[in-house]
Symmetry: C2
Subunit: 306 residues, 2 copies
Amino acid sequence: MSVHFYQAAVVGIGLIGSSVARVLRQKGLADRITGAARSQRNRETALALGVVDEAFETPADAVAGADIVFVCTPVGSIAETIGGFVSAVKKGVIVTDVGSVKAEIINQVRPFLSDNFSFVPGHPVAGTEKSGPENGFAELFEGRWCILTPEDKTDRQAVAAVREIWEQAGMKVEEMSAARHDKVMALMSHLPHLIAYTIVGTAADLETEIREDVLKYAAGGFRDFTRIAGSDPVMWRDIFLNNTAAVLDGLQRFSEDLTVLQKAIRQKDGETLKNWFARTRKIRREVIDMRQDQPENEKLLLKNKG
Amino acid sequence: MSVHFYQAAVVGIGLIGSSVARVLRQKGLADRITGAARSQRNRETALALGVVDEAFETPADAVAGADIVFVCTPVGSIAETIGGFVSAVKKGVIVTDVGSVKAEIINQVRPFLSDNFSFVPGHPVAGTEKSGPENGFAELFEGRWCILTPEDKTDRQAVAAVREIWEQAGMKVEEMSAARHDKVMALMSHLPHLIAYTIVGTAADLETEIREDVLKYAAGGFRDFTRIAGSDPVMWRDIFLNNTAAVLDGLQRFSEDLTVLQKAIRQKDGETLKNWFARTRKIRREVIDMRQDQPENEKLLLKNKG
């Protein structure tokens, strides 16, 4: 199968949106790429970089005439954005999104659904802590997972077309239920981000002298945490507001486990600590064995993060 | 100033010990390098790699005749190791360590101190999550900080010599009190490791299906955490058992902050979340501005982590 569109629209030209546009361009998947961005700066940057052919302020203008629409706005505004442009789309258009939360978005989009277009909920699991169109790059998706969460009634041809595009971007595509996706992401991504945000904030509140030393000598663990905690504030606010139940459930489990380790430290119970750490080391090996640790891709990310 | 030793001894030839030995060799800082390792495998590996000239099972045999001794065993056995070899050292020898905790080690070493040798407590802030002599490399220390925590009565010439060696290894060397060092490290390194260990353990306890997905799709936050939680179990057990007070204090602050964010998520208080995340993003920029984010060095680590 080989997909090709006369016109593709990218609504929200930030890190992900501009990377999607670059893929569409590089792989020749669309003859014309239109984009929508609220900020004039992002529109001008995207045009200057040649990422889109035309940039509009209003999503409805960008999607007019498009055969496929990628909604790449923050999670909190995806449904509202779709609701705002549905009356402007060409009949038969495929609409897909890249939100890190799926169930809540599907719920919010449901009132806008019609026979006029197909909605394919998607989540390319890729990104850096940077934002803005100038930080996007086509290789961002290479070797990463993309999870699609279509519902029973979602048009299968539309799902197949979206799958094909992400595969062309170099992604490994899988389908699962939105509920399962949200549980997995809560543990794998949302909770780690919340914890990194927390501890970097904790460090910021320290007495001046210690705070400055913590930032000055920042290495290992803490530096990784500051990188994670440097991610886009609006994007992450929206994720926590839209995957609330799964995040709070994960947080509860995490807090129980932290209490166990805290008690072991207070009681100088070295055996419990060592056994716990040996168990997590095994998990690290499992992750590596699953070939999820991709130095090549990471080097590329480092290069692009400059 | 230029230091040179007839014989240097490295006690504990793991990741750090073997990297120290490689630096001594490459920079021509010692004519002869002896090493001590409890495990036969590590002795054989170190000899096969040419990292040491002679390898002994007993530290006392390795330090005999040495002009400087690097104690590179886990934090929990540094004092005991020094106590075990003090009667075998040459008068005037410099003994230094690389432990990630300083006050407790200094307390434990105090009973063994004599006019026979100088003890310079040190901490090169560098490492990877791997262990063993085969994973060491001379460039491990390049561009990183080394913190020395001499006491008022510590011999200044010995401090200067140790400083010179770490500078030759490419490190930026600073002095501070052991208490301050331990507070900074609790926040900057020990707490992030504890939290990473916790959350990776939490994920391991999930229902099978979700657990497998978390490991399979591991990206972003969680993968960084598994890397941190793959660090040496004995080394980290010892750190938590020997920097207990500072770690528990940091943990208390962290838990309070986490509760604030948890409540904000439950109450869907987006303003609190966004403000918090914007604040931590600023801290990320501060860390980058302090030039602590060293892509060159990180690429090297990635390469060596293979």
